[in-house]
């Protein structure tokens, strides 16, 4: 009857003012990129929507919807029938969609929800809903209308063309990737840092990740694990440059020269110093970590303030107020959890004192730090950093 299209709803970018086209155009580009493997499509914007129309009869709509559901900037997606704005055609299309769903699952109640963008259309929204509802009731049996808690809802949007659809797939929301600048994410391999990265990337920010690698105190598998995590993130936010920093020498030097209970805090300061340099080198404007207050010894408020001082860039900690359970839930939703819990040593777990200092002071920390000859080692670590280009989906 009509043609199948995908509607993608954009969230807050529609609230933007004069610079709105910047965000919209980026989103259009990102959508085209996400769908690039699926055949020729035309993507265009109209009012608060993006429309995706395939030019290919074999286009896989479900696959496309799946891909769009991880594109930042899209709030929700529907696979719709695009038809002429004509009450007779709308009736028939709505009935057909109803029947298609009814064939697949038990439906006892339904509801029609109409939006009328085209104000010249003779019927008002509620009148259209009543008309289509009546038409479906006339042509089916054993079905009733329930406007509060229906088994299914059929949506009708009357514009220049009319769109009929029944399912709404949730997207990730956020802002289009590439509209928010670039950050450096400290990616450890644990549960928290990928979530912190995802939350930041969702705001349209491009990620470059830094991983501190302590081979042979940790394994090649632990590096592979971090690459896998970056791959999962890249499916959302596009290619990620992963900087793998050789960190063993710094840890050895610290453990030689400094008291054990300060090791973790000094190690974290060294990480910040290195991240700071990498950030400056690649045009990133901030550093993102997965810290949350009080989770471990190095994440007490005192410890965070002492480590923060080592970084000249702003450090963002999107998980700062989250409980571990919340982070775990988020990691599951994003899809990083199963990878994160693989049991390989990472650089933080080997060089750990039984009782690290939880309330370090800056003066004492810096005094200990000065005993180690870190400057040259930090230079070397930055110079010997391996860069891995992790491709997005």
């Amino acid at each position: 009857m009509g043609e199948k299209v995908i509607l993608a709803r954009c969230g807050e970018i529609m609230l933007k003012g004069l610079n709105r086209p910047v965000f919209e155009n980026r989103l259009l580009r990102n959508i085209r990129h996400a769908l690039s493997g699926l055949g020729k499509v035309s993507v265009y914007k109209s009012q608060s929507r993006m429309y995706i129309e395939p030019e290919d009869s074999t286009f896989n709509f479900d696959k496309a919807a799946e891909k769009l559901s991880v594109v930042f900037g899209i709030v929700s997606i529907s696979i719709a029938e695009k038809i002429d704005t004509d009450i007779d055609i709308i009736r028939k299309t709505a009935l057909e969609q109803f029947r298609n769903i009814h064939d697949l699952k038990t439906v006892n109640t339904f509801k029609i929800e109409t939006k009328r963008g085209k104000k010249s259309f003779p019927l008002k929204s509620t009148e259209i809903s009543a008309d289509i509802g009546a038409y479906i009731l006339e042509n089916t049996e054993g079905i009733s209308v329930n406007v509060h808690n229906p088994d299914i809802t059929i949506y009708i949007e009357v514009r220049e063309s009319t769109f009929v659809y029944s399912g709404i797939i949730r997207g990730c929301g956020g802002m289009p990737t590439g509209t928010g600048g670039k950050v450096i994410l400290l990616l450890s391999g644990g549960i928290d840092s990928p979530v912190a990265g995802w939350m930041t990337a969702r705001r349209g920010v491009v990620l470059e990740a830094v991983h501190f690698y302590s081979y042979p105190y940790t394994s090649e598998r632990s590096k592979q694990k971090v690459i896998t995590l970056a791959e999962i993130l890249a499916a959302y936010c596009g290619n990620i440059k992963l900087h793998v920093v050789p960190f063993t020498e710094i840890q050895l030097e610290l453990s030689r020269s400094c008291p054990g209970d300060y090791l973790t805090i000094l190690m974290r300061r060294a990480m910040y110093k290195i991240a700071d340099r990498i950030a400056a080198g690649c045009g990133a404007l901030a550093v993102v970590t997965g810290e949350s207050i009080g989770q471990v010894a190095s994440q007490t408020l005192q410890a965070i303030s002492v480590t923060d001082e080592a970084c000249t860039m702003p450090v963002f900690r999107p998980l700062i107020g989250m409980d571990k359970n919340d982070v775990v839930d988020a990691a599951r939703k994003i899809g990083t959890y199963d990878t994160s819990i693989m049991p390989y040593e990472d650089c933080c777990t080997v060089f750990v004192a039984k009782h690290p200092r939880t309330r370090p002071t800056l003066t004492r920390t810096v005094a200990h730090e000065e005993k180690a000859s870190l400057d040259r080692l930090i230079e070397e670590a930055v110079a010997e950093t391996e860069i891995i280009n992790v491709k997005g989906g």
Binding site: G190, Y215, P216, E220, S255, G260
Partner: protein
């Protein structure tokens, strides 16, 4: 150059072994030429069937069993699952007359037995675990005391895969005869197969399980010995292959390679064992000469299987040593995979009652006849050199020059 042919030192032969060249060539040839389905009626299928028959004879003769008592599986994990679940299936089908069957095993079993019993236990079956001592020797007094005539099966790993500890097959069998003659005796002999005399075990066992890739055969193949008349029911249904005990089109190249590997191992057994003993002794000797006695602890018993040597280097986490050695081209196993976030001490080490420090640092060296005394000396020297340079990162536990 092929890995293991001089450019690396492979001391992880309990994990898996380097296949014999003859086996590779043979499996390749079978894959290429004898690809018929052994169940096909035509003569091309028969060729494959005959190749399997030959392999079955090889495995049977290596175990001192008859060919009809050998059933090929995808490996020892499947064979162990089949042993325990097959026993239970026979009982629930009324083929075995147990009213409230009990299962008896040890705390130091391989996961392919241990986890199956965990599942049975969760389903409400009575599963008794006999403890082990500090050298992983099963407490047979406890076995004698705890076992009753309700026991339907006793499952014991004859040679422990982490420590090389050999259990006393004869005494176990006597206890069975005295206390529960109807119980099936199931030995997991994976680590002993083709490496030691299994006559005593074979004499009393109703079921034995073996694996191909631990004896230089291909992966993905194993076998279960089921004594004639043993009441075991299959757990899979299919086209009736392997006497319907393990249906599914046979892994012809794998099975054939397994058979050939067993032939080679049996023929060379004494020679292989001499090489392995020599390597082990040289390794320990060289380690003692180059390292302070206090730096390491031997967790394996003196009278265990010669190819498995479990050591701890207290203060050095097992995984850390594994990675330091891999950098030198030496491959070993970590007894325990552990991270300080998620303590994962090996269950067997815990069952042995080893201290946290010893268990966390337990590593396994396992030898084969491909290893040489010179490899043992080189490895021991490298370890002695590396150990003092490994920092533990823990305050007050710095070593050597750190």
């Amino acid at each position: 150059m092929r890995k293991g042919a001089g450019n690396i030192i492979y001391f992880d032969n309990s994990a898996t072994t380097r296949p014999f060249d003859e086996v590779l060539e043979y499996t390749n040839r079978i894959s290429a030429d004898i690809y018929g389905n052994p169940s096909s009626l035509h003569s091309f299928g028969l060729e494959a069937e005959l190749a399997i028959k030959k392999a079955r004879h090889s495995i049977a003769s290596a175990l001192g069993a008859s060919p009809e008592e050998i059933f090929f599986t995808s490996g020892a994990t499947e064979a162990n699952n089949l042993a325990v679940k097959g026993c239970l299936a026979a009982i629930s089908k009324g083929r075995s007359a147990f009213i409230r069957p009990e299962f008896v095993t040890t705390t130091a079993e391989h996961p392919s037995v241990y986890e199956v019993y965990e599942e049975l236990s969760a389903e409400g079956y009575a599963v008794k675990h006999v403890g082990v001592d500090g050298k992983a020797v099963a407490d047979l007094d406890m076995l004698e005391k705890s076992i009753t005539s309700s026991a339907a099966m006793i499952s014991i790993m004859l040679v422990n895969n982490e420590t090389g500890t050999i259990q006393d097959a004869k005494t176990i069998s006597e206890i069975r005869e005295r206390k529960c003659p109807d119980a099936l005796l199931h030995y997991d002999v994976v680590q002993g197969f083709c490496k030691m005399d299994l006559t005593a075990a074979k004499k009393c066992a109703d079921i034995m399980t073996v694996s191909s890739h631990k004896i230089h055969g291909p992966k993905g193949t194993g076998a279960i010995f089921i004594r004639k008349g043993t009441k075991l029911s299959p757990v899979m249904k299919g086209g009736g292959q392997e006497g319907a005990m393990r249906p599914g089109t046979e892994n012809v190249p794998g099975i054939c390679g397994f058979g050939l590997a067993a032939d080679i191992c049996v023929t060379g057994q004494d020679n292989h064992n001499n090489i392995i003993r020599g390597v082990r002794e040289a390794f320990i000797k060289s380690l003692r000469e180059n390292t302070a006695e206090s730096e390491f602890v031997i967790n394996s018993p003196d009278n265990g299987a010669p190819h498995i040597l479990n050591l701890s280097f207290p203060g050095i986490k097992a995984e850390v040593l594994v990675h330091h050695l891999e950098r030198e081209g030496i491959y070993i196993s970590a007894g325990s995979a552990c991270s300080s976030k998620n303590k994962r001490i090996s269950r067997v080490m815990r069952a042995m009652g080893l201290s946290q420090d010893i268990a966390e640092s337990a590593v396994r060296f396992s030898f084969s006849s491909f290893n040489t005394i010179s490899e043992a000396n080189i490895a021991a020297e490298i370890i002695s050199r590396i150990i003092p340079s490994i920092s533990t990162g823990q305050a007050g536990r710095r070593r050597g020059n750190l």
